[in-house]
Symmetry: C2
Subunit: 304 residues, 2 copies
């Protein structure tokens, strides 16, 4: 952000683009907004300088070349376009074999490819956390509910598990209960993982199979009425490019954790984004969930 | 199995109890069968010496004391009884605090508790793999479809991931595609994990959210028509008691892997059970899936 040009926010859905714009406005930084058609929310679309298609890669690059931004940031959600549409949209810049390789290696790689493309064109790409560091979860208690000493082990287990998984391009979140891990987030995302955990607790999986001597995997035993509850733990993958895939949470995360019967949420401090933190804290207080930021390197140091 | 008494098979549902009895018959070992009411399949119930309730722990122990078995084995699936029913059934032998601790630590621990209870009573508890070692997946190609060189990386990634997870009482199976892990099995079991992977491939999750600068997690891009497919990898957790929770696969596993669009299945050789292996191989051949046993310590050595 040292250049003279504006910061360009390429905006998908959700609250993050608006929060970034507010941070840029507060800092007195000039900015331009490209709203991605079909994704950006109404307030962003009204504020946007341009509304463009996600697939109009050449158009976006031409617009950026004209604006000569000091930095570009990608923020918000977008639906995955069909592979064919995406391929034709990007084909001008990437040969197909390269594209196929990027696709095969997962979305982190796909997004890293988009970042690399922008950088090839001479742009500086910043992550949301670089523009608005206040969005990063701080260490310490965020809401009014405190985790009990019985949740320490779950929090430590969760962070250790995510650290162990970091080489595998999977798992920015998990649910732990005492010393065991109940679920690990895959590409389906945090909300669906939480739904899965909620079904385990309610017995709604319906199978209830206990393995005896080798058959079946067992259904865990979540006692919701007990103080020893499950904890959602979110962290950044080690070595990931935080500009493209920083774990994020918001009020919906809290609601879904409450529905799944969890006791609280532990966020990697300085390593995960909180979107609309005030609403998030209000939801957590209302639902009786603790919400803490924890240094992933010292998961045992939890305010309680 | 060195004593003079019979081997007692405590039989839940599925094909495993029958396969164990066939192995014992073939070896000329006398045996007795306790069918667990409501779980054991009809052929086992007909053969059984007793049909007893899973919750009648005192009755089962009294029967065992009378038979003076040389060994006891637990085989087959059972539904998880309600916590209250289970607690009252076992309460005579375990104090409640101990029970609560076992429950909180997961089903492996619960089953280990049952094994410990039997051992306290002086019984020798054997795993299915000790009675019928032929059920363990052997190393090498099992079906007629060979994994391609493009599947090696997925197989290695899968085994590495499961090894990394072994401290966390989760994950005896995962699905890997090239260098990334698409799903990790939790207590919901292999079949439900495969269904989740199938939904990713079909886009049936409906969300298709790509994370940009921190929002959302991304939906992977499974191209089913391509030769580079996903692989189901199953292994034993390091340090687990194989008498209580050895990963098992059968024909249904193959059908579900095929439905999920996977290219094949890699089983930890000597470390996972194959139930009805002939039917499993026939299913794999019919579906065009490879089925290989792989030494978990050398996942790179794959027949191809």
């Amino acid at each position: 952000m040292d250049g003279a040009g504006p910061v360009v926010v390429v905006a998908g859905s959700g609250a993050l683009p608006g929060q970034l714009l507010a941070a840029l406005d507060a800092a007195g930084r000039p900015c331009r907004v490209i709203a991605l058609g079909g994704f950006a929310d109404a307030p962003i679309r009204r504020r946007a300088d341009r509304t463009m298609s996600l697939l109009d890669v050449s158009g976006v690059l031409a617009q950026l070349a004209e604006w000569r931004p000091s930095a570009v940031t990608l923020a918000g959600g977008v639906a995955r376009p069909s592979p064919a549409a995406l391929a034709s949209g990007v084909a001008a810049w990437r040969n197909r074999r390269e594209l196929a390789e990027i696709f095969a290696r997962g979305d982190d790689h796909l997004l890293r490819g988009v970042v690399a493309l922008l950088e090839q064109e001479g742009h500086v790409v910043l992550g949301a956390h670089e523009i608005a560091p206040d969005l990063l979860a701080p260490a310490g208690l965020l809401g009014s509910v405190r985790p009990g000493p019985e949740h320490r082990r779950a929090i430590e287990t969760g962070f250790s598990c995510l650290a162990a998984l970091s080489p595998f391009d999977v798992g920015q979140a998990c649910v732990a209960m005492e010393g065991r891990v109940l679920a690990i987030e895959g590409p389906e995302g945090t909300d669906r993982m939480l739904r899965r955990v909620g079904m385990l607790g309610r017995g709604a999986l319906g199978l209830g199979t206990l393995g005896l001597g080798g058959i079946g995997r067992a259904i865990p035993f979540l006692r919701r009425a007990e103080p020893v509850g499950g904890v959602l733990v979110k962290a950044a993958k080690a070595g990931q490019d935080r500009r493209v895939d920083l774990a994020a949470s918001g009020p919906r995360t809290v609601r879904n954790a409450a529905r799944a019967g969890l006791a609280g949420i532990a966020l990697g401090a300085g390593a995960t984004l909180t979107i609309d933190r005030e609403a998030m804290i209000a939801e957590a207080n209302r639902a009786g969930l603790f919400l803490v930021g924890v240094d992933p390197a010292r998961p045992g140091e939890i305010p309680s």
